[in-house]
Symmetry: C2
């Protein structure tokens, strides 16, 4: 299927920047006559049709899409941003990224800015806000996509489908005779709870295993929290022999702590991450993990957002498949 003609194509054919193309289309700024003619010729030659961006330019709406994530230092979000940005570029949108530090005030502040700046759209991985906080965006006609395990009412939604990958991972560790499963989980006070824990617990049940306190240690999604949680698990009278982590960043923290404590991974404990960030294969032992393809997640968010921006209907929930990636740590 041929790709639709984009402003980038027009810019390339006319030998000008995308911004110049947008000025010609919007009439918002003066453009030199010969440049304008080059753009108009490219538009005609390529059969480019005005899309939502061009309309928005004329109506004064920004071409900025905001991505709000809890932690820019987590490479998962950097890759998600890349997938999103690449998909938005063709249609003429620019992506800006804000880090909420997983704090409710910051999350709300970004949403308020999006309304005040009349941004084109918002993609958010929410931590402490609730569905009600998205109301002002709906009122302002700004489409929102939530990228998170948890659902936000009927807001467009991209989430991992982790059950099958967790099942593969559990089959792997139980085949090695491991029976005491623990989890380094997310925070307890997050809106919607911790669906990733719920899915893992349900899958563990199929293997006749329970996953309960004190074998579930909550914490932030950081390396430091992962290290602290791992230490707590190893301090139990009967420490777990298989630990699942809510993401790779916490798993890396756990690996470092294991080395410090002299705990052998995977000899004493099998350790599994979630995401497959690029560094998962660079640490030692190489991290076994559940691959949740961040770039594809970003692209899925873009598809949902663009379909709203273009007034097209589309599936409103996308489940992105995950895969169990066995390496050395489990």
């Amino acid at each position: 299927m041929p790709q639709p003609v984009t402003m980038s194509d027009v810019a390339r054919a006319a030998g000008v920047s995308v911004t110049t193309v947008s000025y010609v289309l919007s009439g918002k700024r003066p453009v030199a006559p010969h440049t304008r003619r080059a753009v108009e010729k490219a538009v005609a030659d390529l059969g480019f049709t005005l899309n939502t961006v061009a309309r928005n330019l004329r109506t004064g709406r920004s071409t900025i899409v905001a991505l709000v994530v809890p932690d820019l230092a987590n490479p998962f979000y950097a890759q998600l941003a890349r997938g999103l940005q690449e998909s938005l570029r063709g249609p003429g949108y620019h992506l800006v990224v804000g880090s909420s530090l997983a704090q409710r005030d910051e999350e709300r502040a970004f949403l308020e800015e999006a309304v005040e700046q009349r941004m084109a759209g918002v993609v958010i991985t929410p931590f402490r806000i609730g569905p009600d906080d998205l109301g002002p965006l709906a009122d302002a006609g700004i489409p929102v996509v939530v990228s998170a395990d948890v659902r936000f009412g009927d807001v467009d939604h991209v989430a991992p489908d982790s059950a099958a990958a967790f099942r593969d991972a559990l089959a792997h560790v139980t085949a090695a005779g491991r029976r005491r499963v623990g989890m380094i989980a997310g925070p307890r006070d997050v809106t919607g709870g911790d669906p990733r824990l719920d899915v893992l617990r349900a899958e563990a049940g199929r293997f006749g295993l329970t996953l309960a306190d004190p074998y579930v240690v909550p914490g932030e999604h950081t390396r430091e929290a992962g290290a602290a949680a791992f230490e707590a698990l190893m301090g139990l009278p009967k420490p777990p022999d298989a630990v699942f982590c809510v993401n790779d960043v916490t798993a890396v923290g756990a690996l470092e702590k294991a080395e410090e404590l002299g705990v052998d991974v995977p000899g004493d404990v099998a350790l599994t991450g979630h995401d497959d960030i690029e560094f998962a294969s660079l640490v030692r032992p190489r991290l076994s993990t559940v691959r949740y393809p961040a770039i594809e997640v970003g692209r899925s968010c873009a598809r949902l957002l663009l379909s709203r921006l273009d007034g097209r209907s589309a599936a409103r929930t996308v489940r992105v498949a995950t895969t169990w990636v066995p390496r050395a740590s489990a």
Copy 2:
């Protein structure tokens, strides 16, 4: 020295969000009377004085500061963003981050958006734009800080002071008898050239060493480019026995390629990075590197920007000290 009272302090004392404080101060949105009184009391109690943010709120200027970096997937920039964001929060600014993918069109588009959105300020690590591209921001009265080795005319500037750290690194590798120095450098077509290469070359000269083609391999600042450059260096008739990398991300790519090629690091080649991103100590062998403290770089950018926003004078170039961090790879 006591810290100045910030909007965050007022918000904490009044038990409300920073956003609510800003609404009270700006009068931009209605606030419930009892909330307004609580904020006004906190303002009086703490001796808070209206600063530029409050003035900007009333004049309609955004509280958004944009950070434009070449690659969000490089953890150095995520940390820089964190340092910047933390310093800007107190005074009431929000940070958004854009990834230019090191492309001139994208860099220009972000700058144009900053002007159109009347953003409060811009911090940029420029790759392909030149000083002239910053003209529209100056015209619009939007302060800019450049975070890069290269200077952009008289624009406020934060840069590493790498000479002493390179000298320490060179002393280390030459003491081990190494004499053939190579560099995995940045791109050749970047505005202002490659000052990091120039500094390393000058320091190598002090040790009677030359650093010249074909021992200098240019490329993008990516893991893939690092791997390709390392392979090119190892293909030389007399490969280098000490390789310096323009950043840690390229060094990690080089390490992976070394493992693939069966080249022993540091046995055959000593390998040195630049930045000390958090993963430098997680790869194996652990990466020796020049530590350029990203959070401190971000804070320095914030200080320069805030002094412009407050109309205060300040040093306009900040050199951030670097340190040689020997680990296992060199």
